[in-house]
């Protein structure tokens, strides 16, 4: 998949650059009141459980009345009129009254919070998008993450202090994405410079965490391969919004796949429309799932350089935008004269981060859980420009952040996609007992020429793939078969991926070059009803590499199974370092991935069988015997499971337990071992033991605290439910902490539809299933007040009778 850097460098285009140099004159913000300083005299706000609880407060001395307002009633909130000057004193008095949830003074709020940043006066763009009004609602959330895929960031800039989360430098291949171009720092500042910090500029979002992903080098150039990799990283590492202030005029399967992958993982992807003044939006902004942003100028009109077209979504300021720049040397300083720490630039590159910063504001608010909801709120509330409604010059119009925050999205979340077929992976190094390497000899050379050559052939039998019957197949030079998809794509991606090729069988999808050596063969072997169709890449090198790869894919008649076999793998990157191995179907929505850009995905002499199965059928791969485990067979009869797990994650079943590793949890391959157990250390006496235990190991043990947690699940039975008091919510998972020799209960959720309990696992160790049980006797009587004088004699009598009963019990016991 190595892409010649030079070719792509030219195509990756950045924002149009500064026309004015130097920072805008500093203008001190005028005085303002912070919300919370001033309270309305004679009023308190109370949250109540019942109306009667609020009315009961009238009995409190100093409380003069209750003001009901219909819009507050829905919130269970009322306003008390109280003696002026005693608000705080009365609040303390009332706060513990029965049925009162909270009490607080009625604070006076100041409209349009004006930050005290020294250069704020030069930031006209924030006013144009109503950012100050938006800041009255929110200045962002520290739990959202904005990924800036750009030239990195000035890691020491005070405007980002404490707000940068770990990213990656795809240029230097390290973890310090320091900006030496200047573009990324400027973009990041527009979206997210800290506001109200008495210095410099304010960004749109003051709280969001910034994930810098460096794909543009010291000359501000990059590759689509790095952009795609950064998109996958962002989606897999919890980004909520991605900003792409870059693009090309030509479509790219990698950026199409990368942006869709991020979108499908719930990331709002925002990109610059491009600065060519052309009538079509650049890629990746042009993809339908990417929010394309054009530029307006200081007068609020469309900037002449801003690309238009049907894919344009929104406008935001993009001319003479004042923002942050690196502190040390950077390219723009040399070329454009941009000043250190702060400076002005122009271009749609600077418009996109207004929108991505706003999208991150929304993402931190309830009700905006899915990119479509955020996009709907941003576009439907935009200030209309040019022709009424949507138009190709200005999209839906100018971003209005305050209105977007107040908008309630109506778009329905996309229905979950159900794959039309399932494939079990039988992989011989892991399943030594299930798949045999069985090399087929081929002799018919296929007419496929050129480094991205392909050709379509009639199949000798109907082959069902992904639930669809096919009679012909396209063979690509780049190591894959496709049923109707593009045959010429060298840039491999994760499976499934939305871009071409779709309907894919990929024994080794990489940039292969048969014109530099080798040949592709195809033959039908075997007798009717048990035939196989074999395609073999024989001694074909990877592009720009010496050393050939010989592998084949075998399609089985009848069973519709698919087998990949690898005979010789020579040269660098020949074990899958930059290749995709797996299947994809359902037009790019379903897939089975054996490996993606991962060394040692395949090995010489290896066979991988992909076997279709129906849902619910036991998986053959569950019966895998790990070759390394031979000779150390345990003497226990309890079931166990040992599987390889990789960054793609997955669910691993060992009835009744299962383990789910989220995608991206593991950075590299590890081995997951589950062992059922029936003897474990005793649980606390007040837990009901349900007798189900599993020992879980993951080696090597990863450091996954920042990327989520594995989930341990348990399928409970009717017996479990009854032993636990009848209800799934009484059951919980716990793990044994070997350090303290104690069981620790885990916060457990129950899915009653599926009959599954699940809990995040802080560590892997021994897990068990337990139930809470009552520590009180059944309540069989009504509560009676017994502190009144009339009850006292009865109480005394009761105590005496109790003692009598006690004595009788002792006697009875002696008698038996």
């Amino acid at each position: 998949m190595k892409i010649p850097r030079q070719a792509l460098c030219l195509a990756v285009l950045l924002g149009l650059l500064a026309s004015q140099f130097g920072a805008a004159p500093a203008r001190a913000a005028s005085g303002f009141a912070t919300a919370g300083e001033e309270i309305l005299p004679g009023q308190l706000v109370v949250g109540y459980r019942k109306v009667a609880d609020a009315n009961a407060l009238l009995a409190t001395e100093g409380v003069e009345g209750v003001l009901w307002r219909s819009e507050l009633n829905r919130l269970g909130v009322a306003i008390l009129s109280v003696e002026a000057g005693r608000e705080l004193d009365l609040a303390t008095q009332i706060e513990n009254a029965p049925g009162i949830r909270f009490v607080e003074p009625n604070y006076r709020v100041t409209a349009a919070l004006a930050p005290n940043d020294t250069l704020f006066g030069g930031q006209y763009g924030l006013d144009h998008v109503n950012a100050p009004e938006a800041w009255d609602i929110t200045t962002g959330s520290t739990t959202t993450i904005l990924a800036v895929i750009d030239s990195g960031i000035e890691l020491t800039h005070p405007e980002f202090s404490g707000r940068i989360v770990s990213g990656y430098d795809y240029v230097d291949r390290d973890r310090t994405p320091q900006d030496v171009c200047g573009h990324g720092t400027h973009v990041a500042g527009v979206a997210a410079a800290t506001g109200d910090n008495l210095q410099g500029v304010a960004g749109v979002n003051w709280q969001v965490k910034i994930m810098p992903l460096r794909v543009l080098d010291g000359y501000c150039l990059g590759t689509t391969a790095d952009v795609a990799a950064a998109l996958v990283y962002a989606a897999d590492h919890g980004a909520d919004v991605v900003n792409l202030s870059l693009g090309t005029s030509a479509p790219s399967t990698l950026m199409e796949n990368g942006t869709y992958y991020a979108y499908s993982q719930g990331v709002t992807v925002v990109a610059a429309a491009g600065n060519a003044g052309s009538s079509s939006v650049f890629y990746p902004a042009a993809y339908p799932w990417v929010l394309a942003v054009g530029s307006t100028d200081t007068a609020g009109d469309r900037a002449a350089f801003s690309n238009g077209g049907s894919a344009l979504d929104l406008m935001a300021p993009g001319v003479d935008i004042l923002s942050t720049t690196p502190s040390g040397y950077f390219y723009y300083q040399q070329v454009l004269g941009t000043t250190s720490n702060y400076g002005e630039l122009s271009g749609t590159s600077l418009s996109a981060p207004f929108v991505s910063g706003a999208a991150a504001l929304l993402a931190g608010q309830p009700g905006f859980d899915w990119p479509d909801e955020i996009v709907e709120a941003l576009t439907m509330t935009a200030l209309d420009m040019d022709a009424a409604g949507f138009d190709n010059n200005t999209g839906y119009g100018l971003l209005q952040i305050d209105a977007a925050l107040a908008y309630t999205p109506t778009v329905a979340p996309p229905p979950p996609h159900t794959p039309s077929a399932n494939y079990d992976i039988l992989n011989s190094p892991v399943c030594a007992n299930l798949v045999e390497f069985n090399w087929r000899t081929t002799s018919t050379a296929l007419p496929i020429f050129g480094s991205n050559g392909y050709n379509t052939f009639t199949l000798p039998f109907t082959f069902n793939f992904g639930g669809v019957d096919y009679t012909e197949v396209t063979v690509s030079a780049n190591g894959y078969l496709t049923f109707g998809g593009a045959g010429n794509v060298p840039d491999n991606f994760l499976l499934p991926g939305i871009a071409q090729p779709n309907e894919l069988i990929a024994p080794f999808w990489d940039n292969l070059n048969p014109s530099a050596g080798g040949q592709i063969y195809g033959d039908t072997l075997g007798s009717a009803l048990k035939r196989v169709y074999v395609v073999e890449w024989r001694n074909v090198p990877r592009a720009s590499e010496s050393g050939g790869l010989t592998f084949q894919v075998v399609l089985h008649e009848g069973s519709h199974e698919i087998q990949f076999q690898y005979k010789t793998l020579q040269g660098s990157g020949s074990t899958g370092d930059s290749a995709t191995v797996g299947l994809e179907f359902d037009a790019g929505l379903s897939g089975v991935q054996v490996g993606y850009n991962q060394r040692n995905t395949v090995a010489e002499g290896q066979a991988i069988r992909l076997r279709p199965y129906t849902t619910g059928e036991p998986l053959l791969s569950d019966n895998c015997v790990e070759p390394a485990d031979e000779g150390e067979a345990g003497n226990t009869e309890l079931a166990s499971l040992s599987r390889k797990a990789g960054p793609e994650g997955g669910t691993f079943d060992l009835m009744p337990f299962c383990v789910n590793l989220p995608a991206g949890l593991l950075e590299s391959e590890a081995r997951l071992t589950l062992q059922l157990s029936d003897k474990e250390p005793p649980a606390p006496p007040d837990w009901v033991e349900l007798g189900a235990y599993v020992d879980i190991e993951l080696t090597p043990s990863p450091d996954y605290a920042s990327q989520g947690y594995p989930i341990v699940c348990y399928r409970y039975t009717a017996q479990d439910l009854l032993a636990g008091g009848g209800y799934a919510f009484n059951l919980f998972l716990a793990y044994f902490d070997p350090a303290t020799r104690t069981w620790r209960a885990l916060s457990t959720a129950a899915d009653e539809g599926q009959g599954i309990l699940y809990a995040y696992a802080p560590h892997f160790s021994t897990f068990g299933v337990f139930a809470a049980r009552p520590d009180t006797l059944p309540q069989t009587g009504a509560a009676f007040a017994w502190d009144t004088a009339t009850c006292l004699p009865l109480l005394l009598m009761a105590l005496m009778l109790g003692l009598a009963g006690w004595a009788r019990r002792r006697n009875t016991r002696r008698a038996t």
Partner: protein
């Protein structure tokens, strides 16, 4: 009446006071020092990964109502009715369990279900056809006051349980009135003893006492009648 030891044998009901009057034992159920995590997913995360949780799909979901669950599991074996001729009691028996209240990461009380005007069979206790302790409880001063006069039972009184398979006869051997769990002077182990099965077959009836204050518990122990006759 020796029967094969099958199915549920372990019951574990730690008892304490009625809420009314007595000192409420509010010991925390250690249901979870939760790791500092975001909310759990509502359903299994759908991931286009190589191994889906496919085996779950074939399983039929369990009934979510307790009555349906018990019916599915025990069918005709479950107790339908209790008849206590001396107290003129003939009442329906319904399965009852308990519910851990509050989120799992909070200290939550565990609350017994109310049998309302009927008699509750504790779902983790035994059934008449299996070894162990059959535990029933009912209200004494609410609804139908089914067990109002439970403390007046005497050794030798007969109790009948009707299941789909027939009528099971028990004879009362012990009647105890005990201070509630947690009250000063209460013998906390006593409740556990009465309500722990130890493998022998018996029937235990529980209610509050006295009706005006519920400071105590009545515990009635009965054993299968032919065992009683044989003694």
């Amino acid at each position: 009446m020796k029967r094969a030891r099958v199915g549920l044998t372990a019951i574990a009901v730690v008892v304490a006071g009625c809420a009314s009057g007595g000192a409420q034992n509010a010991a925390a159920i250690p249901v979870a020092p939760a790791p500092a995590l975001a909310a759990l997913p509502i359903s299994f995360p759908e991931q286009p990964t190589v191994q889906e949780a496919t085996q779950t799909a074939g399983l039929a979901p369990l009934p979510t109502s307790l009555a349906a669950l018990v019916k599915t599991l025990y069918g005709e074996r479950q107790i339908r009715q209790l008849v206590l001729p001396r107290l003129n009691i003939g009442a329906q028996v319904v399965p009852v369990g308990w519910l851990a209240e509050g989120a799992a990461d909070e200290d939550g009380d565990v609350a017994w279900e109310s049998p309302e005007g009927e008699i509750g069979w504790v779902v983790n206790s035994a059934l008449p056809d299996m070894p162990g302790n059959v535990i029933l409880y009912a209200h004494n001063n609410l609804y139908g006051e089914v067990f109002r006069d439970l403390s007046t039972l005497e050794a030798g009184d007969y109790i009948y349980l009707e299941t789909g398979a027939g009528l099971w006869q028990y004879a009362v051997t012990e009647v105890h009135v005990l201070l509630v769990f947690g009250a000063a002077g209460a013998d906390e182990d006593a409740f556990e003893e009465y309500l722990w099965p130890e493998g022998d077959e018996r029937l235990t009836l529980v209610s509050c006492w006295p009706p005006v204050s519920n400071t105590h518990r009545v515990v009635v122990v009965a054993i299968p009648a032919n065992d009683a006759n044989g003694q």
